[in-house]
Subunit: 410 residues, 2 copies
């Protein structure tokens, strides 16, 4: 493993200096190669699917694992989108001249070697490989065991394009030892690995955070809220509240608790209740909520749970301040939204809520690399430092200061 | 401790929303207060100095510990410089509109509660307190035991200014339990503390890095190089090579190894040798170097040592590539410099050397918050992520995405 990662580090120096022109041409060749080998990928995926069915993987997981012609086409499309993005390396982020004439330039550079640990969805393999390559980084991918054949097929195709272009295949690699011990080993190799991105269950994230000596950007849970203000537009409010819960309940940017201002609870709760019933959403509510609609009682534990299911808590609050307090107590710093037409209330909420993404009058479901226009994402960072929210190519760069002098001494 | 930090976290919400106008007025009052209480500060510092002398602290440490009227005036001046800097909170770092009309704004916000662990120099107390306050953060300071009275005097004066302005004194605090156990406890409080900056010896940094559950930005060692290229201007070369070693040998941005291109070694080494002899610098060299000047032999261990003393290794290299290889093997990613008038060689060096600060034709000694024009610094980051090089007020901010919609659902 150490030898493998030492080689990754060496390769990262070569990948870091590739021009945007070369990288984009190769990315488009990778997209072509995925389409050309679509049947092969789907075939390998079928092996994973039958193992999954035999192992009684639940339906939601099987759906995440499944690759079809359309899904492979989407993967190719994401790579082309990434290729079309502005070059992330070499951006001048800041620059100034000091009093004694030093010209200081803060410029973006690749991070180096990035380890990504993820589960289920095989498209993550091509998305993250493309994002890392575009940003001049080497990636070491550790997908889930359940997607082993699919991930290997995708990685092999991308690596073949690298080889055809006389570039080291190791720029895109699967972790050679994909056991738990392999992961434990990887996250201790701070000499060769510059960043670890774990995406997955709480146990994995806790294990990596507590044991890694490599810097970690976590893709942790999303316990997201929407606050429906006194001055909300009711139609927008209902559409967004339904969308944020029901369009895809199992994802991290779905809403878990809806907060409603007391002055509008009486007349917005009945139609909301009706709408959620149409979607089969299981509702729980505070005592005040339950005065207006007949649902189960929500407890402290409910407010503290990321359901990842078609379940929702509803709580009536006294004010926007009260909503912000609830969010600061239970929110995971992922995505939070306010529905309001009141200028000052919106500003207060966006300024005071501490989360990666704070929305006014839009669904929390947009916290996503594709929706942000980043082509795809390596993960949704729930860290507070280095990167927050959807991690695209710019978040896969760091910087250095280049200082141009003409003989200055101190 | 937990209760104390819980209060710090609460206070951080209040400090985060202060306007630039208020913060700058208070910073200038802090500068005034330091000057007004100069005699008191110097008196408290004398207590530390006599304890230090009794305890046989070495001269260099005693000099770092010493406060005089002039040094207090410098502390006040640094605070005024920090006050005069552009507001770091609320900067729009990026922004765009997505295809479906979401207006995404990436804006800078304070980090929250920052723990800073440092040694000896009491001016770090006022510098870091001012930088944290300007950037809307709460700081928890843990200075060295040897500077206990000085640090307490400075913190008390700054806190008094906060109280006079009806702001919570806890925005600037000394860690209540300053024992090793206190530090061990602090770095585990990830619920309340958002960032730890350790500056000091290798043992402290290793202890914090390995045990902290709070994100750490390290102020680690500086093993800095200067590469004297074939196309160097000889006068600049000698001035910079002398300055980078001799102006202050005990600091992290001083040079430890000088690399010289083989084509110029013969005629630049003798005058260099003479110049270093005037400064009493102890030289060690590679075999080739020792053909031209009579000095001790440099070993692998020497190249790997941060001397923090008036000692220097000299090595003759074949090319700029060779110099870059040596730096990538031994450098600590702090500050590296090239002396050359050749456009392509300079660009190659600045692009390929991986360090926080890479210099062309200037001394590595400029890696410093004051010299960068940042007023002061919380530390020189040797991390690769979040912050690199001198950490000023902008490095004490993170960001969030504010997303303005008009009813978008997905």
């Amino acid at each position: 493993m150490q030898q493998f990662l030492e080689e990754s580090k060496k390769v990262s120096k070569e990948i870091a200096t590739l021009s945007g022109e070369v990288k984009n041409r190769i990315l488009n060749e990778m997209a072509d190669a995925l389409l050309e080998n679509c049947d092969y990928i789907v075939g390998c995926n079928e092996k994973d699917m039958s193992v999954g069915r035999l192992g009684n993987l639940d339906e939601a997981l099987l759906d995440r694992l499944l690759l079809t012609g359309d899904r492979v086409a989407d993967m190719a499309k994401a790579i082309r989108e990434i290729a079309s993005l502005k070059e992330p390396v070499g951006r001048t982020l800041d620059g100034w001249v000091t009093e004694n004439g030093l010209n200081i330039q803060k410029v973006s550079i690749p991070i180096g070697v990035i380890g990504i640990i993820y589960e289920s969805r095989p498209n993550v393999t091509s998305d993250t490989a493309a994002l890392c390559f575009k940003s001049g980084n080497v990636c070491v991918l550790k997908g889930g065991k359940e997607a082993e054949n699919s991930n290997k097929a995708i990685a092999d195709i991308l690596r073949h394009v690298l080889a055809k272009n006389k570039l080291p295949e190791q720029a895109i690699s699967l972790l050679p030892d994909s056991s738990r011990e392999g992961v434990a080993n990887l996250i201790k190799q701070d000499k060769y690995v510059d960043l670890i991105v774990p995406r997955g269950g709480e146990a994995l994230i806790r294990f990596v955070s507590e044991n890694s000596t490599v810097p970690v950007v976590k893709h942790d849970k999303g316990l997201c809220h929407i606050y429906l203000d006194r001055d909300a537009n009711h139609q927008k409010a209902i559409e967004i509240a339904i969308n944020a819960k029901c369009s895809r309940p199992g994802v991290c940017n779905a809403m878990e608790t809806l907060l409603i201002h007391k002055d509008v609870a009486a007349y917005i709760l009945p139609p909301l209740h009706e709408a959620y019933e149409r979607y089969g959403t299981q509702l729980k509510g505070c005592d005040l909520t339950r005065k207006f609609i007949d649902i189960q009682c929500a407890t402290h534990e409910d407010y503290d749970t990321e359901y990842l299911a078609n379940k929702l808590n509803i709580k009536v609050v006294d004010s926007v301040e009260d909503a912000i307090l609830h969010i600061s107590k239970y929110g995971s710093g992922h995505s939070e939204a306010i529905i309001s037409e009141n200028y000052s209330t919106v500003n207060k909420f966006l300024n005071e809520v501490d989360a990666a993404c704070v929305y006014a009058n839009a669904s929390t479901r947009f916290t996503d690399g594709g929706a942000f226009g980043l082509g795809a994402e390596v993960g949704i960072s729930t860290n507070k430092l280095h990167s927050r929210g959807p991690m695209g190519i710019n978040d896969l760069t760091t910087f250095k200061y280049k200082i141009y002098g003409n003989g200055q001494v101190r």
